[in-house]
Symmetry: C2
Subunit: 451 residues, 2 copies
């Protein structure tokens, strides 16, 4: 992000603009500046409750938070805009010029299974830094976490099947398209259709053809042949533009003539029934290696039905309902001040009270390795098992080596294998036990008595 001397100042792209924050963060910072308040603050990000129909969440987005914090600074253009807005004093705007993130970040590793009230991340930094980053830190973690949690359910519904993110077009903007490709890959998808996500994150790219390709040709069989010859060994033909079974017969005829076809995609109608008929048409010609790929309005429930019915489908393209987490498009999450200047703090707003102080989570495992219960306690307490909240940045610097997306994906897979069966089910499970330690309950009571 360093600027080459002598060049025109370039504004950073939106995704890393430090103005990607709420106005109130800066009005608070101005008040803190006027008061000379900048002692160490501790904020934690957590989820208040699970969305309806979800049994667990999967942490994601930490890598982007680290990048954001490590690069945090106001550009000269941003400062000039703030000054010109008339809302802020010149002295305050000047004070922002040297603002960097100099604090500590502790967090659940990406791919960790977690539950309400457990801290996803904790920021400990001078007050102005820890406050300013609230909006974007939540924006990054919230979105990837809902997508990873949704994609994990889809992966549970289709063990061993190839799952591909198809959802850029209906994801909520460019960054949602890119980050949902990342979050779904982390949670067990096999790849994405989005090229920029493949380039940026190293995720395998998959693609077939659109109906428009078939429609642009006067003859469907001709369209299939031209496409297959232009992607030798890699051609996945879309067969539902006009009549799925007739198209499958055309594919079979082409394959018999030696045209290289690797698979077919079905995108409409009764996917299970079409898949069975198409499988029979292909198998009758000995084309057992031509796979069937399904797409169209899929989510974990629809895929579960197809899998339970034994539909001969080798993989699924899942878009919109995954990228938007359509049944639960948001989490009730919060980034709350837990400690300021060494003193634990607690919000008591109706229905939104928080557990105070710096917290840690200890997870117990049964004899078979499955998770059997967590304890939420204070960070300085000791507990049974390994602590889940681990150091990620110290003094503004990421702790090296950073964890790669592949490592996080492996970790998520191991977490999913340790989920109790009830939580792996798509239907609602009894709540996973998260016990609040005696020490933490005592601290909350002390703070309530104090204020």
């Amino acid at each position: 992000m360093d600027r080459t001397p002598g060049l025109e100042v370039r504004e950073p792209p939106a995704a890393c603009s430090t103005l990607l924050t709420d106005l109130y963060e800066l009005t608070m910072l101005q008040a803190y500046h006027a008061q000379g308040m900048n002692a160490t603050a501790v904020f934690e990000l957590f989820v208040r409750r699970l969305p309806q129909g979800r049994n667990f969440l999967l942490a994601a987005g930490l890598e982007q938070v680290v990048d954001y914090l490590a690069q945090l600074r106001f550009s000269p253009g941003e400062l000039a805009w703030l000054a010109a807005s008339g809302r802020f004093t010149p002295g305050f705007v000047r004070s922002l010029a040297d603002l960097r993130f100099t604090g500590d970040l502790d967090a659940l590793r990406e791919g960790t299974v977690f539950f309400p009230d457990e801290p996803i991340l904790r920021i400990r930094a001078p007050l102005r830094e820890a406050q300013l980053v609230e909006s974007r830190v939540m924006n990054l973690v919230h979105y990837q976490t809902i997508v990873a949690s949704k994609a994990a359910r889809i992966a549970l519904a289709a063990p061993g099947k190839l799952l591909v993110d198809f959802g850029l077009r209906r994801a909520h903007g460019a960054e949602a398209g890119l980050l949902s490709a990342r979050a779904s890959y982390l949670a067990g998808f096999g790849g994405t259709a989005t090229l920029e996500a493949s380039r940026r994150f190293g995720i395998p790219a998959y693609g077939t053809m659109a109906h428009s390709y078939v429609q642009a040709h006067d003859d469907e069989e001709k369209a299939f042949e031209c496409f297959a010859r232009s992607q030798p060994g890699n051609a996945m033909l879309l067969i539902d533009t006009y009549d799925t079974e007739r198209a499958a017969a055309k594919v079979a005829a082409l394959a018999k003539r030696g045209v290289p076809v690797s698979g077919v995609r079905i995108d409409s109608g009764d996917l299970g029934e079409h898949a069975r008929r198409v499988r029979a048409i292909l198998d009758a010609e000995g084309l057992h290696r031509v796979t069937i790929f399904a797409s169209g309005n899929l989510d974990e429930r629809r895929i579960d039905e197809l899998e339970r019915a034994g539909a001969p489908i080798g993989g699924y393209g899942v878009g919109t309902r995954m990228n938007t987490s359509a049944d639960a498009p948001f989490l009730d999450c919060a980034y709350k001040l837990q400690e300021y200047d060494g003193i634990p703090r607690r919000k008591r707003s109706e229905g939104k009270a928080t557990w105070p102080g710096r917290k840690q989570v200890y997870r117990r495992r049964a004899a078979d390795g499955r998770f059997c219960g967590d304890t939420l306690t204070l960070a300085d307490d000791h507990g049974a098992g390994a602590p889940l909240v681990v150091p990620v940045m110290r003094g503004g610097e990421p702790i090296e080596p950073r964890i790669s997306l592949e490592e996080a994906r492996d970790y998520a897979r191991s977490e999913m294998m340790r989920l109790p069966d009830a939580l792996r089910a798509l239907g609602p499970a009894p709540p996973y036990p998260v016990e609040v330690s005696h020490e933490l309950q005592q601290l909350a009571a002390q703070i309530d008595a104090r204020t």
Copy 2:
């Protein structure tokens, strides 16, 4: 976007990467390249059906589509990555270097009320251009349209009240935060909390304070006073951190001492009941000008309840449920080939058949100016009323002058005033009549007979 000679190649930011597309667009382009197919294609983007519980949609996102199309080109780094991927022939990758958008764009003006099957936009361009842009054009229009359509309902529920977008933190990524600020402003919101959206789009910025500000102080009244003195004339104090009515009494005491307070915000509990009690506390001290602003899990239904009950609330901060369009986080929309090389095309997939050809919409108005019915017909037909699909780009160039966000917002407001009462209601209305012309029905039948 021109690069200064002699500089290191900088990659464009993700939001304008031409790789922000699906792999299949490029596999199709490679097949078209191999076949020498690049005649004029016409694609239209439309919605197949309204989301449940919605009576109309509001078109948004066109401005960003124009920017995207006008800047479309592959960077050298993108071409190098494509070449290195091993998926494409060198000749095809070379052919992409001079790809620009040279076509025509026709569309509904931003802020137009529209219904299923009506084209939101039409792209007429050489096949490779019109196909490549599918993913990002949909991504831009789909998201802003669902948000504008949701925000319009919220505006209908709160006539005359200030509505502020509070949703960056739970919007799906950075671009969703920015574009939902824009789309909600277009649909009638008064401003946004997101500073970068204010800077980029000229939308008024609003902000209050967070609970953390109060918590960081040992004394709530001291916190209020410091904040108010640091934002003279502009201080909106958050009063629900501990006890809403006790905090309101502290605010009243401060105001009586001459500390400048412009309003209070309530973010939890029974907002209507708290607002009434707080209003009484403020009024008892003659503080009639101190306004009450409400936030917290709001959407059009909750606001409608508060307004119908006459809650003394002057404005609403609306976040998550608006930015994610939580009750309908996606639209069933499609970008379909309607004509290639002068011949109308039609997809007939089960449940997904399309109306063929280049289309136009004519809207009739009743004597009072209200919309009373549309006709979907072919673009070359004439109809009653003004055509809604208008020219936006010709030969790859935007038609000047472009429409400003303020103009689009004014237009949306006039559209909302012309909505029939049944459609303005939050509950389900009888479907608005969209009639398919005889000419269009005949064309569909002809194509079905042909294939």
